[in-house]
Every structure is written in C-alpha cells, then in structure tokens.
Subunit: 71 residues, 2 copies
Amino acid sequence: MSTVTTYKVTGMTCGHCEGAVTGEISEIEGVTSVKAVASSGEVTVTSAAELDDEAVRAAVDEAGYELVGRA
Amino acid sequence: MSTVTTYKVTGMTCGHCEGAVTGEISEIEGVTSVKAVASSGEVTVTSAAELDDEAVRAAVDEAGYELVGRA
C-alpha cells in the first residue's frame, strides 16, 4: 500500500531545479518516488505512508524552493 | 596578460544553469575565470589567451545550452 500526494512548489525553472527538489524529497524516510515538473510547479510524491507536510516543506526549502501546499 | 570575452548564451534560467555553464567553460584550457548570469544570458570569460569560439560553443552545448555568439 502506498500514498501518492501532489504538492505545489514555487521557484523551479528548469531540469536542474526539478532534480534538486527530487533529490531532497527522496531523502525523506518512506518516500519511494518523486516526480517534479518545473512548468507546472507540481511535485508528485509516492510514499509508503502519509507524509508529514512539514518534512516535505523542509526538504523543499533545503533545495532552495518554497512549498505552497498540497496541489 | 589576459583576455576577457563576453558571450551570449540562451536557455539559462537559474543558478544551477549558471553553474553548469561555468563548470563546462572552466574546463577549457587557458580559462582562468567564468561569470555566467542567467538573467542577461551573458557569460564573461577570462582567459590567458584568445579562445576558440568553437571550443566555447562545444562547452556550452555540453552543459545543455546554446551559444549565440559574442555579446
């Protein structure tokens, strides 16, 4: 059983940005896949269990972007 | 004695892009410093001698961007 959540992130402009966000969120425990799309600002995260939004916010911040919230 | 040349590059959108271009151009022999600015598309290169534009074009291409020419 896995959970899929889509978040809205501002500031991503290119593939490097997508990679930075993907890399940081992937480090959160329980995350099995991340797909970040700069053009839409949407980041879709698959995880073993429901994620703590604050953990996702911290990861996005660490990458240098801002989490707006769930999409 | 050193040469300073400014090039116009398209496609850079963020600091990661600037870093990618800077990294590739820095590897060209004789280059002593590179400053890439995404907002203007200008890349200023300091080198020991005049650079071969085709070497710069190849480096920019390797980074994933396009050299328009000298600014």
